[in-house]
Subunit: 453 residues, 2 copies
């Protein structure tokens, strides 16, 4: 189980406790949502990790589609349709895919309509896929009319259809029931998975949106859901001070009121960067609101930034330590990597090791150290420095980097966000301004406006 | 040549002009630096793109090391030692490496001591490298004693030494002349390249730090430098209002004074994300300062964020449009991708195309569109929406995504930063607080403190 600490949040304990207690009625509401177990309220995503029907449906379709020749799962979706999947896949395998050319299946994510990426992706499929068994294409669009997803999906299908029309059997569509895409897929006899209407993209990682491609990509979705459930179960207790995602929201809220308009999630594992990007959407869309629930213009919101240790210590540490005091930080770290090497005694294949030293004499204290020991030292050194500079931070210590721990973390953050929206008195579940640019884009696409430089 | 627009910066023209004119003395100083052509002043990085000796040295070493069997260049460096290289490589090839398995040579970046990444990297080298010719290892550390770089370099060397001690001939060290690493490499007869002492990491992309690995990785460094020079040459004119990086700094400065503490660089090309990460260091380390040049405690700094279109419209657009008005944005886009496909008529290999439509009927206006036309529409739609919301932005239109254009962009940003530091009255070239966490880390490493959960 993860550990959460707010010892360095620099908020007086009385404030923390008083604010936390204002959340008791909302906690009771979440408890009710979990008791009723349906998908009819904004917070219903809390029920996804417990949904046995959903799990059975996903596993059953996965078993029909996955075979020993499967090489690639193409995840075609954008925003809430792919960020959670990518978060978990990258943390588990994706960050090392370039270094494991022979491992399969791999998930390839296709989100935006970048001309260069789309060109290389289609050329890659054309050259590297020889039978339908080698590929699964999962098109994911909650609305069913996402411009990028419809365009990219059509492009990929056409590339594969040049080989054979049988590739249509390798396509799975995940969308809201009765969306236009749903109807079209139904008419074409394409396999489908649905998303509960009330669950928005950014809360949908534990629905079919995330579970199906992850299962196909070899991620253990059962332990992922175990992790998520362990956080949901925290909500069943009555002492708000013991509910860590709730306390995290209280710190973020109080620090935001004190002028911290940036929340830096500082991951000391590069493979968790995509987890940060998932959280960026969760924060950005949930909290960035023109008006509060009383209709007052508030322009609420906290800007999420992602830092990666130790890389970004060599990039933005100077800003964080010396610059404006406009940030609240959450450090995320696990002391238990799945793999670890020792410098002077590592031995990948049982061979005798060369005892020669090349550069290690430049920093003698590195000798005999494990990679994790170096990272531990940098992590502790960084926290000490934040303390010395009186910079506020929270800390999440993941038990390890397993799928279970990832499930815990993502669920922690979704629950944190629900409480934080409540404290800010805004609608945590809508995204009214996203339509603004979509309307402008649609106008341009339909009018066939040409742009000349 | 790139185009720069501040038409939507929402700053009164008088303010812009008055502030720009205060930079005339500093512009004159930059002109002097470029006239003297040495490496003795803080701004000397301006002379790198014109340095024929440097170019000749890099090309000569590259020609000795690169051969037709070369598969991988391992770039071992962190922060200023690799961010510029990665920016240009990823924009040119790296973002598509997973989709071009057969293309070589590829650059693999090894920066932090992530236990999992280091494990997979060493296993990969152990399994996939069979002769010294297939690899070049470039270890880069300005100080020569960067913890992560020394550790990772030693680890990689040992892995390769298990195969043969001849791999030492495939190692190139880039460091300050007479650093401890320089002396050690000299004693071991390892090939070396130096960095001018005065040029800090974040301004070093056009030194051997960036040029050597990029040249080995197949990037055309001559046109890269051409692009950089075209920006430097802008500095030779006397009308400050015509110098675009100077005007960009003026907008950032004036908007920062009005409370915009975040500068979002919004790239509408995912392959430029690493360019954004390079700029993040440039801004973070250059501007994030506790004290100004008069010793006054100011906590100066602008927090750089990177957004990627259209991906992040589905992530943080709601925050940007509806949330706090704490951001100034720079949009970066080119209308000329190197590759482009048309939806209903794309034909990768001269085959007749399947005319079947699958999902395109869901959005009929997509039919017959090029990928770039979709992106153009989203880009223009986004800008219109920013205008409607009165959100301030600047725009950089890259001529194309060539190496030349990348050289222009990076040099533009380094010059912008010099002017911006001047306006903020801070030392743009030091990074005093970075030492803080390094000292703490060193204490822990040397004391062999064990951490027990």
């Amino acid at each position: 189980m993860m550990k959460f600490s707010l010892d360095n949040s620099n908020v007086p304990v009385n404030n923390l406790q008083d604010t936390a207690r204002t959340l008791i009625p909302y906690l009771n509401r979440l408890q009710q949502v979990m008791e009723v177990k349906n998908y009819e309220t904004d917070e219903s995503s809390l029920n996804l990790p417990f949904d046995e029907n959903l799990l059975a449906e996903v596993i059953s379709l996965k078993e029909r589609k996955v075979n020993s020749n499967l090489k690639y799962v193409i995840d075609v979706g954008i925003g809430g349709s792919n960020l959670g999947t990518k978060a978990i896949y990258d943390a588990t395998w994706g960050a090392f895919d370039a270094l494991q050319p022979a491992r399969s299946p791999k998930i390839i994510f296709c989100d935006t309509t970048d001309p260069e990426f789309i060109y290389f992706l289609n050329r890659f499929l054309d050259n590297n896929i020889s039978t339908p068994e080698e590929i699964i294409i999962n098109g994911i669009s909650k609305s069913g009319t996402t411009t990028e997803t419809v365009f990219n999906l059509e492009m990929i299908i056409k590339t594969l259809f040049k080989k054979s029309s049988e590739y249509i059997n390798r396509l799975v569509i995940t969308t809201d029931e009765n969306s236009k895409m749903w109807e079209r897929a139904h008419n074409l006899n394409i396999d489908m998975l649905s998303i509960p209407k009330i669950v928005g993209g950014r809360y949908s990682v534990f629905s079919a949106v995330g579970l199906f491609p992850l299962a196909c990509g070899g991620v253990d979705i059962r332990t992922l859901l175990d992790g998520a459930r362990s956080i949901c179960k925290q909500l069943l207790q009555s002492d708000v001070l013991q509910i860590s995602p709730l306390m995290s929201s209280v710190v973020l809220y109080l620090q935001n009121k004190q002028g911290k308009n940036i929340h830096d999630s500082f991951f000391f594992h590069p493979e968790l960067e995509s987890v940060g990007k998932w959280y960026r959407q969760l924060t950005g869309e949930s909290l960035g609101k023109e008006k509060d629930l009383d209709g007052k213009e508030v322009h609420a919101g906290i800007t999420p930034t992602i830092s990666v240790g130790s890389t970004d210590l060599h990039s933005v540490a100077q800003l964080y330590l010396g610059g404006p005091t406009d940030k609240i930080t959450t450090f995320i770290y696990s002391r238990k990597p799945r793999f670890d090497l020792t410098l002077t005694n590592f031995d990948l294949e049982g061979k005798n090791l060369d005892k020669e030293k090349i550069f290690i004499e430049l920093i003698p204290s590195l000798e005999g150290k494990k990679t994790s020991e170096i990272m531990n030292a940098i992590f502790e050194g960084t926290k000490n420095t934040y303390q010395n500079h009186k910079l506020p931070f929270m800390e999440i210590s993941l038990e390890d980097l397993s799928t279970q721990s990832l499930g815990e973390f993502l669920q922690f953050k979704m629950v944190e966000m629900m409480f934080l929206g409540k404290l800010l008195n805004i609608n945590t579940f809508d995204q009214p301004n996203v339509e603004d640019y979509k309307i402008e884009t649609k106008k341009i696409l339909e009018q066939n406006i040409a742009f000349i430089e």
